[in-house]
């Protein structure tokens, strides 16, 4: 049965909030200052398919350069996929007009210093999606902005301040208010707490969890911090060099990881337990290079248990795990 027939038969509740099919994104890069060099192709996201059920939280983890932010930007419509298709709430993202897209899906970015326009007041920043949407009176906008600010734990009076007058945690609350003011059903959180201190991180994570329950939101939650992902996500996808190498519900993945890369990632989480020492993750000192993806299994140069066939044959995907040994 195809996804279209499912969508036709079942009511909206069964439609996945995010549905990605065989998405690929290639960047052309040129080395700085070397105009005489040809562009090089970098495959940032390579043939990725995944779905996020409505109301779920999919955590995407992976190291820097693994393509998780590129994936997020494609889902937000900021980048067009080179191939494949993306559906949001059952509708093709490419065919949505900007207002419809904004009403469905909104972002929360990593750096709260770069994500707020320094020359605009907090109230105008939060109101931006409403203004862009049109058809809402100024009085209604002001009321909804005030309501939203209160909802994220900020005093409505802050609407008159400039972002420069706020702390990092307050700024991230403003960004969340802006994301939710149009009442979208999906929020893409790209490392929303990585730039914050732990005490503030806890505040923001608690706020995001609370808002999700109350507003029945779907999150795509991108992070390099496995402890955070374990805390917020219902399902986890592990990315490595542009591909999802393991996908499982959170408990299974943390209890019984199957891909050697997932195992290494989990082993490198340093929990505050004295006496355990620093684990040996056994990955060697070669690092993934998105401009030169190895043949066969792309993890084989770092894999502690790689076999001969891993060097040449691409591994199959079995039960959400892309590995010869799973």
């Amino acid at each position: 049965m195809t996804a279209d027939s499912v969508a036709a038969v079942a009511p909206a509740a069964a439609t996945p909030a995010i549905d990605i099919r065989a998405v690929r994104r290639i960047f052309r890069v040129r080395d700085a200052g070397r105009v005489w060099d040809a562009d090089r192709a970098v495959v940032a996201v390579d043939d990725v398919s995944l779905t996020v059920p409505a109301g779920g939280v999919l955590g995407v983890v992976g190291e820097s350069g693994c393509g998780k932010s590129t994936l997020a930007r494609m889902i937000l419509g900021l980048l067009a996929p080179t191939a494949g298709e993306i559906r949001v709430a059952g509708r093709h993202l490419a065919t949505l007009d900007r207002r419809a897209r904004a009403a469905l899906i909104q972002p929360v970015f990593q750096d709260p210093y770069a994500s707020l326009n320094p020359r605009r007041r907090v109230g105008d920043i939060v109101a931006l999606p409403l203004v862009a949407h049109g058809q809402i009176t100024r009085r209604d906008i002001a009321a909804r902005v005030a309501e939203m600010l209160t909802r994220v734990g900020l005093a409505p009076e802050l609407a008159r301040r400039l972002p420069g007058e706020l702390s990092g945690g307050q700024r991230q609350r403003v960004a969340i208010a802006r994301a939710l003011v149009l009442k979208p059903s999906i929020v893409v959180c790209d490392e929303p707490t990585s730039a914050l201190d732990v005490s503030v991180q806890a505040q923001i994570l608690n706020l995001l969890a609370e808002l999700r329950r109350e507003l029945n939101l779907t999150y795509l939650f991108i992070s390099h911090n496995l402890a955070v992902v374990e805390h917020v996500a219902s399902e986890v996808a592990v990315m490595y060099l542009g591909r999802i190498v393991e996908r499982a519900d959170t408990e299974t993945l943390f209890r019984a990881p199957r891909h050697p890369y997932t195992k290494a990632l989990l082993a490198s989480v340093l929990t505050p337990e004295p006496g355990l020492g620093v684990p040996d993750v056994g990955l060697g000192d070669t690092l993934p290079d998105p401009t030169a993806i190895p043949a066969g299994c792309r993890f084989h140069p770092r894999c502690p248990v790689a076999l001969e066939k891993c060097r040449s044959i691409a591994p199959p995907v079995v039960d959400g795990v892309e590995c010869h040994l799973a």
């Binding site: 900007r98 904004a102 994500s115 326009n117 320094p118 702390s167 802006r178």
Partner: protein, 294 residues
């Protein structure tokens, strides 16, 4: 009160860069530019004499600080007996006119090209970059001279020529700052909020690069004023008998070994005006945290 500072407040308060000296400099620049604007606007009402009226018997009278000052012509007279102060005042008018019109024309061209190239990227940006490189390879003075030489000198032609030639720095700075701002997440957030490209360019990008462009505007204005003077000095700028400062120096050149003040007075005026504009630009650069280098 306790000594706890709210961290946000503290971060917002900017330390005054450069201390008192910087403020004095910026203030001085502001006063010079303000005075020049006033003089240029009010020229017909404040000149003590007709700047075009010749009085050959009263040629090359010395200014007030020299022996032989006649008590009437404060800055003396030129080789045709015209009142030097009056000509100087009208000259300010020409300089400011050229400066402002050049900045408007070149700013429009350069900012449009730079912002569009920086925001669109890809082939559009390659084209903008090519236009900038081509423009930079053109020797400005020579081409301006050639144009005036070809079409005959007039004030409006000169203003137009300079405007069409001096947009490069606007384009370079607008392009590089736009590229920086464009990759900031608030631009991405505006896109996700459903804003149109025009809205993003006008409301999110432009206000955040405006301070850099303001500094470029002062630099270009100063450059245009100097160029007009140089072209007029070479005899291919503003046509006589208009009292451009550069032309005044050129006309007085033949007398400079005997009466050096005839080139000193317009030269100092030119220097002070350009110095004032640059001081103002420097102050703006520091106060707004802007930069004008590519």
């Amino acid at each position: 009160m306790s000594a706890v500072a709210e961290p946000a407040r503290l971060a917002h308060r900017r330390r005054l860069p450069g201390g008192i000296g910087r403020w004095v400099g910026t203030g001085l620049g502001g006063v010079i530019v303000g005075a020049a604007v006033l003089v240029a606007l009010l020229a017909p009402w404040i000149v003590p004499h007709d700047p075009f009226a010749q009085d050959l018997p009263k040629r090359l009278l010395p200014p007030f600080w020299m022996d032989g000052y006649d008590g009437i012509h404060v800055f003396g007279t030129d080789q045709l007996g015209r009142d030097y102060l009056s000509r100087l005042i009208y000259g300010a008018r020409i300089s400011m006119l050229i400066g402002v019109s050049t900045v408007v024309t070149s700013g429009l061209i350069g900012i449009t090209l730079g912002v569009v190239g920086g925001y669109a990227g890809g082939r559009v940006d390659d084209a903008v970059l090519f236009a900038i490189t081509t423009r930079l390879s053109i020797p400005v003075v020579l081409v301006a001279l050639a144009v005036v030489g070809l079409f005959g000198s007039s004030l409006s032609l000169l203003a137009l020529t300079l405007g069409l030639l001096l947009w490069d720095r606007f384009a370079v700075v607008a392009r590089s700052t736009t590229m920086q701002v464009r990759q900031l997440d608030y631009v991405a957030a505006a896109w996700c909020a459903g804003c149109s490209r025009v809205h993003i360019l006008l409301r999110e990008v432009l206000p955040n690069i405006a301070s850099h462009l303001a500094v470029v505007a002062t630099l270009e204005m100063a450059l245009a004023i100097l160029l007009e003077a140089a072209l007029s000095f070479l005899g291919l700028g503003v046509p006589p008998p208009l009292p451009s400062w550069g032309l005044m120096i050129a006309e007085a050149k033949g007398y400079m070994f005997f009466t050096p003040w005839v080139i000193m007075i317009p030269g100092v005026a030119l220097f002070v005006l350009v110095f004032g504009i640059n001081l103002l630009g420097d102050g703006l650069r520091d106060l707004l945290g802007a930069r004008a280098d590519p």
